[in-house]
Amino acid sequence: MRKMTYGEGIREGMRSKMLEDPNVVLLGEDVGPYGGTFGVTKGLWEQFGEERVRDTPISEGIIVGASVGAAATGLRPVAELMFIDFLTFGMDGLVNQAAKMRYMFGGKISVPLVLRLPAGGGISAGAQHSGSLEAWVTHVPGLKVVYPSNAQDAWGMMLTAIEDDNPVVYIESKILYSKKYEVDDTVAAIPFGVASVKREGSDVSIITYGKQVEDALTAAKVLAEEGIEAEVIDLRSLYPLDKETIFTSVAKTHRALVVTEEVKRGGFGGELSAMISELCFDELDAPVVRIGALNTPVPYSPALEAYVLPNTEDIIQGIKSMF
């Protein structure tokens, strides 16, 4: 057991795969000597050299486009965009090329690409650098989407992401980068589509991922003092999705709350909520409650940002509204 930050977990996942396979390469803005805007790739340029850890121009279109081409022709690139918000520029390469190539070429081409997307707010980075846009990518057939919530998962899921022959969108919670977690001495690949039950409970299921896992656990602790035992499910991978764990939990607790950092409109939380309502209808003792950000771009002002983003108190109130 050792202590490691979330960012270090991501790095160690990449490092171990780079050590194993010379086809694993990194690219992105300032991922080289600078070590990445958030320091995630620190030391990898020194270790693996400029051939395998490449700085790119400030162009998400180039980063994604070059990565898709590299992946289609035999490399296993791990590309970093500085902020998920700028995925807009790389969207065509991702959703029209990477996601569809295997399908359109009858399985003759695979795209083993990992696209790292720092997401979320809470660091006063302003409206263009704080987005939670997982719904944009979970919507696209052909993409796998993961969103680890701690260092161990970040490491284990990075291994799986790089091993996967399909494009994987690997979303990272910016605010967790420097947060420390206990990590096993040896970390195995964590298969996609397996959720993690972080806390068992009998009265309500909190379904979440990323930074909100921590908030949910805090909320569960408070609620326990009031006699409500919440089960906290960390989905870890959004697609493929571990429906079984969700449904088993809801069948046990009969209440579900979905909390995500995105705005609720058109969000992935809505997808989860709808799925539970459709498939667990007879198990529900209350409507599924969704918690998300307010319907606005994320504000720069720390006070306003805290107001807009969902927090522990919102989760507590959301759960109380079900009883």
Binding site: H254, F281, D282, E283, L284, D285, A286, S321, M322
Partner: protein, 447 residues
């Protein structure tokens, strides 16, 4: 699109109405023009029609008094989200003066806040899907369960509590429909020994079997039966107003006999021009007389008399279910032809329930006629806030002494009840003398 149904304004002076009965339950399909609910004002009862077709999604005010234009229900599509219409303070649909919530509104709010999920009349039961599943599993009738969840929703916990609470009987495996049937027939389902679930058919055959044996001796005895019939809204209004009148007015009844020979001649003379009834004639005569005896035409407010220079004569019309009093406005200043037509029109309106609140209010004096039933005397009750009422009796051919000779004359008694607060005996008597004079010598009316 769901729409709010509001308390309609049924007359110029109507400010509020009392919902006495819903003809439709929540969840019922309603066609445009169908009767939705009954409204009582202080004067009349009215049926309110649905202005649009759809499903009666929500009854906001079950019963009680509501200001006009305040929402009482929502009609919409079966699955439409109507929470926006129900949310907030439910504003008046047409700008109306802000008023504090009436008790009825408060009552509705209390119901919404979760007194019970079940409207007493068997409307839609709000229960969570899991509660329904649990109820089916435990054979609990959801209508018997009190909802403790948000908005009074029944949760699975409520179902389990209800099951525990009803003890041994609830442990009988019985279908919900069978439980209802059993309750209706007064059968204890635990008396049926059946493996597996008791179904409705089981209850029925059990009832049939037991009635063959046990009930027979009772049939031979003379059957005395008491049933309770709720008053309809008109009857309730009559009961209330009559009792109030008796409580308010120290009433005295005065009987006066008059000779209707002259009125008979008058009717004959008018026959080819206009068919008038004795009632029409008496409305006309009374209206004239009232201008000369304004105390019989007043109302009492506190320590003041409200005097008028006109007389609006109410004419009581008997209906199958009660009594209604449309008013001939300004009868003191109308000719006989006009009065006659108006009495006819109002009586017809009373019989087909098409009178407006306007036509039923504003009376200053009432005439009520029992002559057609052969009555010769009665003591009518004053129609508040008036102070007097004239009862009209049968015309009876009677031997009388005229100038020392016995002759047969058509005589009629008039029965006047007057409020002694305003009308002393002498005044009442003089008023009756005046009526008698006009009736026996109609030429006086020309003066």
């Amino acid at each position: 699109m769901a729409e709010l149904i509001v308390m309609p304004k049924l007359g110029l002076t109507m400010t509020e109405g009392t919902i006495s009965n819903w003809r439709k339950a929540e969840g019922d399909t309603v066609a445009q023009g169908e009767i939705l609910f009954d409204v009582e004002t202080d004067k009349i009862s009215n049926e309110v029609e649905a202005k649009l077709s759809g499903v009666l999604r929500k009854i906001i005010v079950e019963e009680g008094t509501v200001d006009i234009f305040r929402p009482v229900a929502v009609i919409g599509d079966a699955n439409e989200d109507i929470s926006a219409l129900l949310g907030g303070g439910v504003p008046a649909v047409v700008p109306a003066p802000e008023q504090a919530g009436t008790p009825a509104e408060a009552g509705a709010a209390a119901a919404a806040a979760g007194e019970a999920a079940v409207p007493a009349d068997g409307g839609r039961i709000i229960a969570s899907p899991y509660a329904k599943k649990t109820a089916a599993l435990l054979s609990v009738d959801l209508r018997q369960v009190r909802g403790s969840g948000p908005q009074g929703r029944i949760t699975a916990g409520d179902v389990r509590d209800a099951e525990g609470g009803s003890g041994a009987v609830a442990k009988v495996k019985i279908s919900p429909a069978a439980a209802i049937e059993a309750a209706a027939l007064g059968i204890d389902p635990s008396g049926l020994h059946k493996e597996g679930r008791i179904m409705k058919e089981d209850i029925r055959s059990f009832a049939a079997a037991s009635s063959k044996t046990a009930v027979q001796p009772a049939v031979q005895a003379a059957v005395q039966e008491i049933t309770r019939v709720p008053m309809n809204s008109m009857r309730r209004i009559i009961a209330k107003r009559m009792l109030e009148s008796q409580a308010v007015s120290p009433a005295v009844t005065y009987n006066m006999r008059l000779d209707t020979t002259a009125l008979g001649v008058l009717r004959q003379q008018l026959k080819d021009t206009l068919k008038v009834t004795y009632t029409d004639l008496l409305v006309s005569i009374a209206a004239k007389a009232l201008l000369e005896f304004p105390l019989l035409n007043c109302s009492i407010e506190g320590t003041e008399f409200v005097m008028r220079n006109y007389a609006n004569i109410g004419v009581a019309v008997g209906l199958e279910e009660g009594l209604i009093v449309p008013v001939v406005k300004n009868a003191s200043h109308k000719g006989l032809a006009e009065i006659s037509q108006e009495v006819k029109r109002l009586a017809a309106g009373a019989r087909n329930n098409s009178l407006t609140s306007e036509e039923l209010t504003g009376g200053t004096f009432t005439i009520t006629n029992l002559g057609m039933y052969g009555m010769e005397s009665f003591s009518p009750i004053i129609n508040q806030p008036e102070v007097a009422i004239l009862g009209v009796n049968a015309i009876v051919d009677t031997p009388v002494a005229v100038n020392g000779e016995i002759v047969i004359r058509p005589l009629m008694n008039l029965s006047l009840t007057a409020d002694h607060r305003a009308v002393d005996g002498a005044v009442a008597a003089q008023f009756m003398q005046k009526i008698k004079a006009y009736a026996e010598k109609p030429a006086l009316l020309l003066l």
